[in-house]
Symmetry: C2
Subunit: 193 residues, 2 copies
Amino acid sequence: MADETLWLPSLVLALHRNRHAPYSRFVQMATIRADGRPANRTIVFRGFFDDSPRLTFVSDARSPKVHELERSPWCELCWYFPVTHEQFRISGPTVVVGQNSDDVSLEARRKIWCQLAEPVRVSFTWPAPGNPRDGRVPFPSIHPDQETPVSHFCLLILDPQEVDLLELNGNPQHRWIFHREGPDHWQGTEVNP
Amino acid sequence: MADETLWLPSLVLALHRNRHAPYSRFVQMATIRADGRPANRTIVFRGFFDDSPRLTFVSDARSPKVHELERSPWCELCWYFPVTHEQFRISGPTVVVGQNSDDVSLEARRKIWCQLAEPVRVSFTWPAPGNPRDGRVPFPSIHPDQETPVSHFCLLILDPQEVDLLELNGNPQHRWIFHREGPDHWQGTEVNP
């Protein structure tokens, strides 16, 4: 597998082979807080962007991760597949596409909004995440337009630059590190696990 | 649950209720690389330290995460429990206990070494993780002494200072943030999910 761009078909295959585990699309995303400390949370993979290796996620603009990515775009995903025992660590810069973005990604933002499950769209109408909650006040039950994203809905697009793939099956395990060296050029090396 | 230190019994309960999922002890640990970018990988929880809320993990001293923690001790765990749908984000400074440490943790390091499964102990005799692998050369099959840790075996001890607990069951979900305000004093607040 070394010296090729085989991390992407490996990831596609892992998504297929783990498709019955609902949390196989749950990924941990590490970012840098304003104070320089790391933040880490689970986020749901929403598919590849435009038939490219870029990965999409969604977020509320009021969430700290959006501010962290706008300040320090480079993040690292850790994606563990429980059925096939594979770990992908994927790092690269992430672009935040909000309502004021003016490039082609705005249409992708709208498309992904339309495809979200209804309860996820509703959750974007709730009060700001992380603010103190008043348990006596029920959350509003607003059903936003399915075609028009709410203003603070953001699409996140991560452009992978480095991938560390660990296959835990086997003794010793197998591990490869892939670096992107050009627009369509990757270099891969098998390394010790 | 607000205003109490209930994250710890919640975590103990989650470990119990998810005990049949082998990967319920797999945690994603985010650290800071020397270049300021985040790193994120899966690591296995090895139990609480000395009946305290401190969490233990093990690592090879030759692994980048040890150097990252020695340089920037503050890390953040993301721990997702698939059976009960709970996420714990736990952050705080992490101490690396290697063979030259001179405090009481050395005995804990030895104990955890003794308790490891044999294949895990053997893996510490392999060539340095992350170095290029020569597929033609089999890894050594050395069985290290069960009582005496190899020199580069490290114990990691994380001392939680902040915990963000999200219960995904329920609509809306429930979320609390706990801050440590003294040796045995925590403050908790329910926040919007």
